[in-house]
Amino acid sequence: MCSGWNWVVHCLYLFLNICSFEVSGGLVQSCGHIIPESPVLALGSNFTALCILNESCLDFGNIYASQIIWKIKNKVVPKEQYREINRTVSSVTFNDTSSLATPLTCNVLADGQIEQNIYGISVTVGLPPEKPKNLSCIVYQVSKLTYPMKCTWNPGRHTFLDTHFRLKYRWSRESFPDCIPKYVNNSCTISDVQFFVNLEVWVEAANALGKAESDRLVFDPIEIVKPLPPHNLSVNSGILPTVLKLSWENRISAAVMKLKFNIRYRISSDTNWMQVPPEDIASPRTSFSIQGLRPYTEYVFSIRCMKEDGVGFWSDWSEEKVGVTTEDKPSKGPTIWRTIDASPSPAFWTVRLMWKALEPFEANGVILQYEVTVRAKPPLSHPPWRYNVTTTSLTLKLPNGTYEVTLIAHNRVGASPPSFLLIPASNSKAPVKNIRTLPKDGKLWVGWTAPNSVLKYVVEWCLMSNSSNCITEWQIEPGNIQGTYLKGDIKPFKCYLITVYPLYADGQGSGQSVKAYLQQDRPSKGPTVQTKKVGKAEAVLTWNHLTVDEQNGFIRSYTILYKTVDGNETAVSVDPSKTEYTLSSLTSDTLYTVRMMAYTDEGGRSGPDFTFTTQKFGRGEIEAIVVPVCLAFLLIVLLGVLFCFNKRDLIKKHIWPNVPDPSKSNIAQWSPQVPAKHNFSSKDQMYPEGSFTDVSVVEIEADDKKSFSEQDLKPFDLLKKEKSTSEGHSSGIGGSSCMSSPRQSVSDSDEGESTQNTSSTVQYSTVVLNGYRDQTPVQVFSRSESTQPLLDSEERSEDHAGGSDGMTQRQRYFKQNCGQDETKADRPFFERAKQIVPANEEDLAGFAQLQISGQSSQPLGFELEENTQEAALPDVLQASTEGQTVRPETVEGNLPSVDEMPKSYLPQTVRQGGYMPQ
């Protein structure tokens, strides 16, 4: 960058000179120049430049030194830095060259105004070179005869100038050409050096501001050689299975230097290198036998070298070479263990012998087979069983007893020492005690308190999981220890069941188990809680234990958290063995949210929320309230009935006031016939004299009745009564012209034609009875002369019920009321009734009444009767409370006491205005 800038400055300078030449040389003579010309200045030093004007210009252009202006680039230098030496020379001084820039120009103001350039120079500012430091050299061997030497140094600070470095070297009496670095300034390589002659080496740095030399190094290049590593390595198996012979070629002549070596080797599957002791290979050689290797193992070798006396540098490591040692017989027998399944028959065991494949360093080759020998004890009981297997397990069915198992592994070279396992008839020896576990260094340690004279221990463990069976793993430990690490892939957050068996020379102790985690975590979920029973102030909660896969650790406690919608959360700690808990002191009829947390040593996790509502009443509370209330109600009713019974006369007096006897009215004579002709004795009883107050009487042909036999009539006695009542009612209603519905009269009749409009035949008529209570009932009709039709509502009702021929039907009804219809078979009643059904419920009630009256002998009629009775109760209540006259029949039908009928009926007439007490 610096050199680029200098180049630009130089170009500018040339341009200025050329311009000056063209102007002055060609046409105008140059008027002056600057001294020094293009100086190279040390950074931070002071500098003075002089501008000298030509004499010719003084005369020609009246230009003097006092008019000179110095400029750096386009910036005028302050006049304080000027000094007019004489009338042709002006100087400018800079105390610090760092303020300088290129170009520095000398200018004049011609005619006092026009600025003209006289001359310009370029200024280069930089630093002298520093003394190169840390010079060091190394001779790299690149071939058998070529030894270039590379020297490096620290060039020092940046000088801002073109600085040249030279590596100089010489013998004391002979110099060599300098080594000039290419592209760099801190290293240079001498292509070839001569050994065994001291070489003096130094670095020289030079630029326009000076020169500097490094300290001088004097050395024999043979002392700084980094040789090439040996090559063509080969590995040969020795006679012994623990020896390999490594051979190589050196690439540096012994005449140049004697070498010592380093040999490293490792098992192929291992990354750690081992080294042959350096003192064993500290002398020149081209081969070495490495001993103490494992049989049937693949090794990787590598070698390096350096000058024998250790002066110089180690070579790089050579390429790696692989060698395999030969096989040897197995160094030890496989460890063996068993599982015993006593089912299905305790007399025979299913013994599964299992053993661990030997590690490669124990197998010392390829295991071809295992030889298993099972001997019963005492030995005379059965000859030994022998098996040759290639797998690592063997399942046998043996009679219950004591056995000794011997296991031998075979490879190509030979057999291993035997391994023994005693299978006693029972584990009668002392077990281990105080078994405990401890996670340590990412492994699980299990310890125990040992009984005496234990031969060895078997540690069994298995991963407990819901999703898979407990697959047992095991290891054998010597009898002199009281703890060991589990040798297997022990996973964190998993529960392991660990069992320790002590093995004795003459038996075995029973296994002691413990559960353990390598590392615990919070449970993966919380228990799902629900209510088993909810009361007013308590709730019984139940939950299931978390599965072992969900626990992730030992569940130390459960915490039940419950709260109301707007209340604080309450926590209850529960023993982890429990699966049920009763929350008490709850508020009745309140929604509670409850959840449950399970805690391990590492923390807890909450299960889902569950909501329940406590009951409003506790157990028996409702009964405690309802029963007394009912009893009280019944008592009140009973008392009321008794009171009414006792005061019935008084009640009657208040309810039925005295009514004038209509028989004494003149209008009574208007009646064409005397109703007494109708032999309604029962009706007379039912409506004693004076009980009618306002009755419309319909003319009925008494003779028609004669067409019925007495027997036929009997079933209609009740009907007759009803009809009479109905007539009375309807008359009354008709009289009142408001509540009475002709249909009620019709209901007494057999057919739909009975739905005659009363108003059409009996115009507003009033029946005035003579007596009330003690008066003789004389039925007199008082006919109104009004021809005003019945209220529209009644007419419409009639229209709906009877259709367009309502009047005709009515007339027919009056004619046939006690005639043919009653003599006909029972069935038409039903048919007719069916026709009436669409009218309204009141019609149905009337129909039911007819059933009771006329069809009591019929099964269907009986059924209907029952229905009617069922429906009658609400009607009774309705009638008694509201005084409706709509269903007097029903009341009548349900209440056999005819005396009661008027009580419920007559007051209604009074209320409806059809009757005014007189």
């Binding site: 005869l145 013998w171 070839d192 001569q194 050994f195 002659v197 140049v256």
Partner: protein, 195 residues
């Protein structure tokens, strides 16, 4: 002599002898290799016999064992100075013949020349330790060799290299003798050693 008695001078003498021996060995090794290259490159037969070349000092000495140390050094120095001139001349001839494309012969020759120079330097150092003035070289310019044919040049070069190989062996033995007896043992002690 006084300087040679000091321990540092003794050490330096020993060091110079030791490194001189190794240099001579290396030179012997390199010259052997160079001979193979030379014979191959010049198209000569390795078994060809070359008569004694004029100007090449002979390594064989009639009463070698009786020589003093200084004498040995002087003989060696004279020989290697001569070899230096001869090898430089050979190198020049090789450049003239083959130009820059002379393969590995030129560098190998240059390397051997350098070693010859280095060994001469060793000898001069040892002579200085013996407090002997190093004899000046006989003129800066070697006498102009007679104009030889190309084949004669090749044969002469072969003779030079063979003799140099012989001298390398002799030099090792000479320096061993010097190293055994230390500095100042310039008297004729070779008799016992030669037994």
């Amino acid at each position: 002599m006084a300087a040679a008695d000091t321990p540092s001078a003794s050490l330096r003498h020993h060091d110079l002898c030791s490194r001189g021996i190794r240099l001579a060995r290396k030179m012997r090794s390199d010259v052997t290799d160079l001979l193979d290259i030379y014979v191959e490159q010049q198209g000569l037969d390795a078994s060809i016999s070359v008569a004694a070349v004029e100007g090449v000092p002979a390594a064989a000495a009639e009463r070698w064992a009786e020589q003093t140390g200084t004498q040995r050094l002087l003989d060696n120095l004279a020989a290697y100075r001569a070899f230096r001139v001869l090898l430089a001349q050979m190198l020049e001839e090789q450049r003239e013949q083959l130009g820059d494309a002379n393969g590995e012969l030129g560098p190998a020759l240059a390397a051997v020349l350098l070693q010859v120079s280095a060994f001469a330097y060793h000898l001069e150092e040892l002579l200085e330790l013996e407090s002997r003035r190093t004899p000046a070289e006989e003129g800066s310019e070697p006498p102009a060799p007679p104009r030889l044919s190309l084949f004669e040049q090749k044969l002469r070069g072969l003779g030079v290299l063979r003799e140099l190989a012989q001298w390398a062996v002799r030099s090792v033995r000479d320096l061993r003798q010097l190293a055994k007896h230390g500095p100042g043992s310039s008297a004729a002690l070779g008799l016992a050693d030669s037994q």
